[in-house]
Each structure stands twice: as structure tokens, then as C-alpha cells.
Symmetry: C2
Subunit: 407 residues, 2 copies
């Protein structure tokens, strides 16, 4: 008997027919003799519908209230999944974030899990129930509702798997695994049978929507075996696991495209010590993640600073930057949302030179201008104009022969 | 400075424009120097949409899970109202049923409030916030989610008003008060300036959808002044208050129509002691409210028993009755959902005879057959075939000259 945590995403529970199918899959797993805890996202479209309602009222809705609003979506889906399972004769009980003691910090709309009290889930499992847990939502020590950010249900699932010391965490989604690129952009993209935590982490950070970053961090930290599987098809799947030697034989494992960055530029910043801190500390204080930063060589005591933030944070960042730009005596504040980030990822990069130059060459050959670059041990990212994003992915997938990858 | 509890129903918060209007009304009240706590229902249509989803999965969804499902609706509306108020520059904070300690019994889908911990609302009010509270929902001692039944937000509002010792509880709805009859059925229906708790209680029990019964009971018990007002128009309104002498001068105050009853008949029930208990106790145990009961005169040791339950409980009642009918050796179990209940209500009936006979005569004159009758001190109800329901209301409104009522 194994203890399995399954997670079903929004499209997997997108309507009542799909919910019934999910219920059948869950019951099958239980009938094989397993204890099954299930984490469910909101029905697809539901979260966007709720955000849309708030934005019809104001551009900058209060974040505490946004969390109350958005957390309603998973209540609907956990209740419906539990209702479906019970209607098929199995015992099931739903739990909200509060009811499983999913304690988080107080950063509304992107809270981090601090502690889980798995006692109530374990008691339900031990009494023969299937536990259906609301993903994405938590609660602060004061009892306020929080949410974990887009894709937060993945993190809920891995965190619950860790807390329960589960044998495996299965992430069911609308694709049957992790691909070398988004198959909608690159028809010849290949599914990977396995991928290292680090690679997956970079892929998730860089636009592959298949898993939330935090969930991979959790899986790595607590060594939770993580499977990405399709909720619509049998078989397939990608195992996210520890890096092994065979993995390094492949230079590049994947190409990703992220459309959710925005560029913020500040021109003629007086170049004196502490100036960067005065710009970036207020952003950090507001929990705005800054991704790439470029500072030009100083000229006449002035420099230009450009950085990228998530598009969703762009308005908030502007509001914070406006008084600062004034107070430090900089000249100009601009934003550009018309950018995409294309990245190549691979554990093999660690020990091979020449990957970066091959990337830049391939892009320039087709006239694609690179606006910003950032690199880490196992990835290289370039910011390009939005309209070139998909073309860039196809060019790089070709250049590194990912259609012939063997992993 | 007064402490006002306002309640806005589903149509009042039916879309984001209406939510903004409600926010303005609330702020106006605050700016007059009042402390304002607001109870909000789910956006109109939302609860029905959720129930519809559950019923697409199964006819008899688990009630614990139904409460989790339905309680999501008010989370959406409280968050949106709070967001709207904050976007207009006032301080507001939303509270779920759990967060205000709305403790109920464990009867899912129609729980009763046992206790409210108003401390968190009071603290919010005292710090200058408008408190936005989710109606309709509560929580058991074990932390399970409950709901208070249709219209439960009215009860939430009155209960909170009582707990806060509020000066007044204003129920904003889509009509501007309590009418002698539903104006959609009787165009000449008149608005009442005031109505006694008892009359309101009967009206609410008998089909007037303007207030939930429990809310009137609460208002009576804790002597909370209750106003029914329109959220769309200024002025008007009906005060629900203690009975005074002038009220008894009117024989009949209102005519109501209820379409939510179903008739259950059991034929050839062996007429022996305890037989009624064996039928009705299991229904009571399942929290099914039985309204009218008729038992025919016994013949050959057998009798027929007919009773009415809420249509929503009909399937559940049937399921409970089937084995019982078998075990007691009765002949036949039938249900009829094709009925309506038409009632006349008036505090003046207490001291006047002849009201009942006038009602029966008026109906029979137009060929309407009465299937069941039930009376109390201040009301008379008749079950008629559904298709005659609206006609019966118009006939009785005419017969008792309610278009000329003066109260």
C-alpha cells in the first residue's frame, strides 16, 4: 500500500464531465490499495473570471481581498470532486486550506507555505476516506486567507506530499509530461522521460507552465518523487528527479518562451554609491521580484538602469518608482511590455563551452535583436521583441537538434 | 453616531456596477457619522449556478460538500464589495463566516446560528473600518463549513445586529418594502409602512420571499428594529416592529403564494397507535420540515396520510419513506409537486370570525378546489393546484380589498 498525492489542474476539472472522470481516476488509484490525497485547482477559467470581476471595479484591487476572492475557486472544485466521488460510492471528504492548517506568511497573492498540519488529512486517510484538498490557498496565523500565486496548487500538492511523507506526488495536467519546447510553438518538440530538479526549476522559471517553481523547490528540498502526467491520456509522463550522469550528456534539454515580463528603464541615473539600493529595495519591500538587471557603463556621472519585472507587477512597480526617480534626480522612467524572454536550459551546459555563442549566432542569423541577456550555470535567457518570440524558440530548437533528443 | 447593520441581497450585488453603487451607499451611511457593518449575499445567480453544477454530477449531492460549494459565493461578493469601497478611498475589511465566529449547529444546508463572536467586527468598526461580512455561512465547532438555507443572509444580518447591539438592521433588497401581495401577481398590491413581527413571520413562512423566517424570529427575540428597503430606489420601506393596537383594525394584511411545497401521500396506512410517529420521526431526524399533515378518518382499520414538505426535500423524503411504507404495510406512496399554497395573513384575524369562510367561498366561486387547509391565529393557508395559484391570490386580494388597505 502506497500513499499517493495526486494533483489535478484547472483544465482537468474544467467541467462536470471532467470532474466525474477525475473522480473515476482517483477511485481506481484507491482501489489498487493506495491511500490517496488529492489536491485540486479551481475549475479552468474560474480564477480569471474572478480577477476580471475585481479589475472591472478597480485597476489596483486590495490584495488581502483578492485572496478572499480567489480562494473561492478551489472551494467549488474540491466540493464538486468530493460530491462526484461520493456519488460513485467511495468515501471522500473535502478540506479547505484552513482546514488542513496550510499556514503561510502574510504576503497576499503570493504567500509562501510555512507549515502544514497534516493531522486532519492523515486521520481522513486512515478512516478510509479519500482526502480532497483545496490547492493554491492558505491561511495566516491571524486567520486571514492567502493564496500562493499562479500555479500554487502544484506547491500545495508537493508540500502536502512532503508533510504526509508520501511515496509519490503525481501532477495531472493537460499535457502528458515535460517537453523540449511548447508543442504548440514547435510541432517537433519531444517529451522527456526524466529531467533533473535543477533543469525543471529553470524551465518553470523561464516560461514552461507545466509546474510552479516553488513546487519543484519543495520537491528537491524534501526529495519528493514528482511525476508530471496527463489527466486525459494513459501512459507517458515525465519524472522530475535528482540529476544523474546520463543527464549531462545532453547539452540543451529545452527551449522556453516567457511572455510575462515587462521592461522598466530609468535614464540618466546619477551614478553614486547606494543608488541601486535606493531603486531596488523599495521594490523588494513590496515583494516585487526583479528578474534581469542591466546597468550601462557610466558617462558624465550618469548611467541608465534597465530591469524586468512580471507584467502583473508593472503598474505597482511604476507607482513605487515614480517618486524615487524624482527624488534621486533621474531623467526618465519608461516601461515596455512588448518583450518576450527566450531561454535554453540544460544540465550539460555546466561542462561545455560554446553554447551561448551558438545561441546568439542562431538568433542574429535570422535578424533577431537581443535586448538583454542573463545566464546561470544551466541556462541562458535573452529578451527579444515580442513578435520574434515564437520564431526564436523554433530557431533554437532546430539549432540544438532537440527534435532528436534522447532522454 | 449610530451603529447600523446593512444587508444587501444577491440582486443588489448582481454585477460590478451594482457593487459599486452599493459601495457608494455604504460610504454615504458611514460619512453621516455611523459605524457600518454590512452583510452581503452571493451575487444573484451564483448560488443557483453552483447548485446546478452539483446536480449535473448527482441528484443527491452530499450536504457537507454542498455547504463548502455554496459558501464560495459570498466570498466572492464580500471581497468585491470591500475592493470597491477601498478603491473609493474608505477603509473596509471583509470577514468570512469563520472569521466572525458565526458558530452554528451541524445541520448542513440549513444550519442554525448558535453563537456569534462579534469581537472582530467590533474591532474593525472601532478602528474606522467598514466591516463586510459574508452572509449565509457559518462554521461548526469542529471547523466544518455550514450554510443557513435560502435567504440565510437576512438571518446573518439580524444575528450580527443583535450581537453588536446595533441601533437598526436595514435589509436592502430589490423591492422597496413588504407588499400586500407580490406586485408581479397583483398589480394593485400596496406597500405596508409597518407590519408586526408575527405577521411578517407568517408572510415569510408562506411564500413572501422578502425576508427569511429565521431573521424575523431573531429580530423579534432580540428586539432588533428591522427595515426592509430598496437598494435601487430612495425612500419607501417597511418597518417590521412590535404589534400595536392600530394593526388589529386590519383584518387581512397580505396574500402570499408559495410554490415550493410538494405533497406526499401514503394510502392504506394501518391505523394503529404509533404509526404517525414511525412516519414522521425519521423525517424529523433527517431535518426535513413537514408543513401540513392530513389524516383521513379511518376505514376498515386503514387510513390515508397526506403531508407537505419542501420540494427540495421531496426526493430525500421519498427515499426515507420507501422502506417505512413497506415495513408498516401501507399500500402506496405518491408525490405531487404540482401544488401551490395560497395564504392570507393578518393580526386582525385574532378577533374576527368569518375570515376563513369568506376565503373558501371566494375561491370556490371561481371553481378553485381546495386540497388541504391549515390555519393559525393569524393566517389561513390552502393548497390548490399549481395552475390556480396566481388566480387565487388575485381573487383573495380583491375579496379582502387589500388595494385599499391603510397601514
Amino acid at each position: 500500500m502506497a500513499l499517493i498525492v495526486q494533483k489535478y489542474g484547472g483544465t482537468s476539472v474544467g467541467d462536470t464531465e471532467r470532474i466525474k472522470n477525475v473522480a473515476k481516476k482517483i477511485i481506481e488509484s484507491k482501489k489498487k490499495g493506495n491511500q490517496v490525497a488529492v489536491v485540486v485547482s479551481a475549475m479552468s477559467g474560474d480564477t480569471d473570471r474572478l480577477i476580471g470581476l475585481a479589475h472591472k471595479i478597480t485597476d489596483l484591487p486590495n490584495e488581502r481581498e483578492m485572496d478572499v476572492l480567489m480562494s473561492s475557486g478551489e472551494r467549488v472544485s474540491i466540493a464538486l470532486v468530493a460530491i462526484a466521488i461520493r456519488s460513485m460510492g467511495e468515501k471522500a471528504v473535502s478540506f479547505t486550506g484552513r482546514q488542513v492548517g496550510m499556514l503561510t506568511d502574510k504576503v497576499h497573492t503570493k504567500a509562501r507555505i510555512e507549515k502544514i498540519n497534516a493531522g486532519r488529512i492523515r486521520a481522513a486517510l486512515d478512516s478510509g476516506h479519500i482526502a480532497i484538498v483545496a490547492g493554491f490557498q492558505g491561511i495566516t496565523e491571524e486567520g486571514d486567507v492567502t493564496t500562493l500565486g499562479r500555479g500554487g496548487s502544484d506547491t500545495s500538492a508537493v508540500a502536502i506530499a512532503a508533510a504526509l511523507n508520501a511515496d509519490v506526488c503525481e501532477i495531472y495536467t493537460d499535457v502528458d509530461g515535460v517537453y523540449t519546447a511548447d508543442p504548440r510553438i514547435v510541432p517537433g518538440a519531444r517529451r522527456l522521460d526524466k529531467i533533473s530538479h535543477e533543469e525543471m526549476l529553470e524551465m518553470a522559471s523561464l516560461g514552461a507552465k507545466v509546474l510552479q517553481i516553488r513546487s519543484v523547490e519543495f520537491a528537491m528540498k524534501y526529495n519528493v518523487p514528482l511525476y508530471v502526467l496527463s489527466s486525459f491520456a494513459e501512459g507517458g509522463g515525465t519524472l522530475v528527479t535528482m540529476e544523474d550522469e546520463t543527464m549531462e550528456q545532453v547539452l540543451v534539454t529545452g527551449v522556453t518562451l516567457a511572455r510575462d515580463d515587462a521592461k522598466v528603464s530609468i535614464r540618466r541615473v546619477p551614478d553614486r554609491p547606494g543608488i541601486a539600493a535606493s531603486i531596488f529595495k523599495p521594490l523588494a519591500d513590496a515583494s516585487i521580484v526583479v528578474d534581469m538587471i542591466i546597468q550601462n557603463v557610466s558617462k558624465d556621472g550618469f548611467t541608465d538602469i534597465t530591469f524586468t519585472v512580471n507584467k502583473a507587477d508593472c503598474k505597482k512597480a511604476l507607482k513605487i518608482m515614480e517618486p524615487i526617480v524624482k527624488s534621486i534626480g533621474a531623467a526618465e522612467l519608461n516601461t515596455d511590455e512588448n518583450i518576450s524572454k527566450v531561454s535554453i536550459i540544460g544540465a550539460g551546459m555546466r561542462n561545455h563551452a560554446g553554447v551561448a555563442s551558438k545561441m546568439f549566432e542562431s538568433l542574429s542569423k535570422d535578424g533577431i535583436n537581443i535586448q538583454m541577456i542573463s545566464t546561470s550555470e544551466i541556462k541562458i535567457s535573452c529578451i527579444v521583441e515580442s513578435k520574434y518570440g515564437e520564431l526564436a524558440v523554433r530557431i533554437l530548437h532546430d539549432a540544438f537538434a532537440l527534435d532528436k533528443i534522447n532522454r
